[in-house]
Amino acid sequence: MAGMKQRAIDLYQWIEHRLGLIKPLTAAAEHPTPANNASWWYVFGSAATVLFILQVVTGILLALVYSPSANEAWTSLGILNHTIPLGWYLRALHGWGSDFMIAIVLIHVVQVFLFGAYKFPRELTWIVGVCLLLLTLGMAFTGQVMRFDQDAYWGLGIGASIMSRVPLIGAPLVHLLLGAPIIGGQTLSRFFTLHVFVIPGLLLAGVFVHIWMVLLHGVSDWPMPGRLVRKSTYEREYHELVIKTGIPFVPDAAWKDAVFAAAILFAVMACAFFFGPFGPTGTPDPTIIQTAPKPDFAFLWIYSVLAFLPPAIETPFMLVVPILAIAAMLLLPIFAGEGERHWARRPVAVLMVSVIAVTLGIFTRLGTYTPWSPIMEAWTSEPIPTAYLRNRTPLERQGALVLQDKQCRNCHSLAGAGGQRGPALDAIASRMTEDQIIRQVLQGGGNMPAYGNALNPSETKALMRFLMTLRDGNAPAVDASRQLTSSAKPQPPPPAAPTIAPKSQ
């Protein structure tokens, strides 16, 4: 036994004498770190790295089968899902790993920002980290293109349409993005190159530099209110803290990283196993237009923002705001490299994180049900509720038919069914007078197309009669100015006699 041990030591020394890496790496792992940062708040960076390694490994395994050709990519995903043993699980791991990686990277960024850990001497660590965040999002977008389905196809169309708005060089940029005049084989090839060679290469290099700087400067100490970062004193103070309270990073602090990384990996595995892979949705055939394309979760908020921007400021917003936002993130440590680190003393920082988080959350939520999109099938799939037709005259019922036939329901709901682009019509006659509704329907405006061309006078008449019954039990709307102009005796609004409140049925 002793001989075995001696032989192992000999072997190690033989290797290390020639390699010279084991000793310095061990020493780096065991470097002393202030005891106060051995915290559960400091585990996200290492978890992101572990997820990145998972993505590299699963990505390589998927590349064994995936065919990056516009002709075959979609079919090869089907083969991965259904034919190759465990192919579905690998796709699921890669897809869920991607979502988890984005989430963990974002949490890591927020934690570093709130802890003021980007301040001197770690400014460049932050800047490289921002680049890593952007590269991670780049992986997510190019990865969505790898899943070469309908969403990927139209997502590329959206990307090209945004590019086309760049002044002067719009057309060359579109061609550069697509690699061809249309979305096709060359587009997939170049996104494959980005997803598999270019961005992972940059990520690997960036992660290496990022971790190197963490080792060089040490993991930031736990922020304390009132303990200011000054360029003249910080490094000495940190050094003293390390001498006074230092514990070896491995194992005294790193066990938390290891536990968290294992938990995250387990969560990815569980999601992959129980929820399975993402898509692919329909074939990337642009002649199948019965589709409502949507980006992946991480980009839903952008999709929502693009629905709400007024046309006039949309192009400047799309082209300028991302550049400003990225520049602000990159330059943050240059302008705020010193001073207070603790969140309790940085209300603006806390406010910014809260506002941005709530904003992204709301837009993402909206993106999941897209209230601005017409529901294309609503006019044939959602009947008029019976309560709205009871005790109605033939003309009013004819109006209900017009409402249905002219696809009003695609944008307007009745009893909760139908599109949400326009207002619900359940009580429209209690909010608008007949004249106002006629004007709105025939001339449009305020985000509604004009229907003057699509309705003949008798259809309009019938539609109006039906719409005027929709009051939800309220009194009909009255034109305030009419009352003023009418003679001495102002007429009270007629009672809602024959109308039955549909909600009460």
């Binding site: 010279g20 310095p24 020493a27 002393p32 516009a70 002709n71 075959e72 196809y153 139209w154 169309g157 959206i158 090209a160 349409s161 590019m163 086309s164 708005r165 719009g170 057309a171 940029l173 579109v174 061609h175 697509l178 690699g179 061809a180 005049p181 249309i182 096709g184 084989g185 060359q186 587009t187 080792l215 060089l216 400067h217 490094e235 990337p284 055939d285 642009p286 002649t287 237009i289 394309p293 629905a307 046309p311 006039a312 601005w372 999109s373 017409p374 294309m376 006019w379 036939d405 002219k406 696809q407 009003c408 695609n410 025939l442 985000n447 197309p449 004009a450 061309n453 699509a454 003949n456």
Partner: protein
């Protein structure tokens, strides 16, 4: 850096310098000819690198430069008898600029509106907002986009929603009994190779719409 961390003994330890050597400065002074040659070699590599880089960058940016194959071509999309007057129909064709490995993505769809015997309008499927596929609703005479709710009238002009202009139109011509359109680039705000005769920011006002069998609307001037 002030070395706040206790870094281990440097890897340099493995190759301890021999103490008898002269100082590095003295060495450098003694090697001025080699220094010069090294500088020269660096310059040489810079030149070779630049010569190498030009074609590489040219290859990379290749798609950005308009080639003849990008401009597109006239393509027949059907007999004019396939399109009843007053109706708008969906037509598929294979892009004349498709490449060998485009698969299904080489297919293109467009909406053909026949105004009268001789007059057509051929609209790109792509919404002028962000390129999603618009759908035609004959009853309400609207094109609706599923992505962000852009809406267009039957003549392609903007009705409502985020688009800032009407639908993209293909140039068309009638040759014998068939309808030909000029197709090339995927239509976006910057790439309407096939629509040179149309103004960029608004499709020509629908003056010919007055002759349509449909009631020309009160909303039209």
């Amino acid at each position: 850096m002030s070395e706040p961390l206790e870094h281990p003994e440097h890897p340099d330890d493995l190759n301890p310098p021999t103490s008898a050597d002269p100082t590095p400065e003295a060495k450098a002074a003694a090697h001025s000819r080699r220094t010069f040659l090294f500088t020269l070699a660096v310059g040489l590599n810079a030149v070779v690198g630049a010569v190498l880089a030009v074609p590489l960058v040219g290859y990379l940016l290749g798609p950005a430069w308009r080639k003849n194959s990008f401009v597109g071509a006239w393509i027949a999309i059907g007999s004019i008898n396939d399109f009843p007057v007053g109706e708008t129909r969906l037509v598929d064709f294979r892009s004349p600029v498709a490449s060998f490995d485009d698969g299904d993505t080489a297919k293109v769809a467009c909406w053909v509106r026949r105004i009268d015997a001789q007059q057509f309008q051929v609209f790109a499927i792509n919404c002028a907002h962000l390129g999603c596929p618009v759908r035609w609703f004959a009853q309400s005479k609207l094109f609706l986009c599923p992505c962000h709710g852009g809406a267009y009238y039957e003549d392609g002009s903007r009705a409502s929603g985020p688009p800032e202009r009407g639908l993209f139109e293909y140039k068309y011509k009638l040759d014998g009994g068939s309808l030909l359109i000029h197709a090339g680039d995927m239509p976006t705000l910057a790439t309407q190779a096939s629509c040179k005769q149309k103004p960029l920011l608004q499709i020509a006002p629908a003056t010919e719409a007055a002759s349509t069998p449909a009631r020309s609307g009160e909303w039209q001037a």
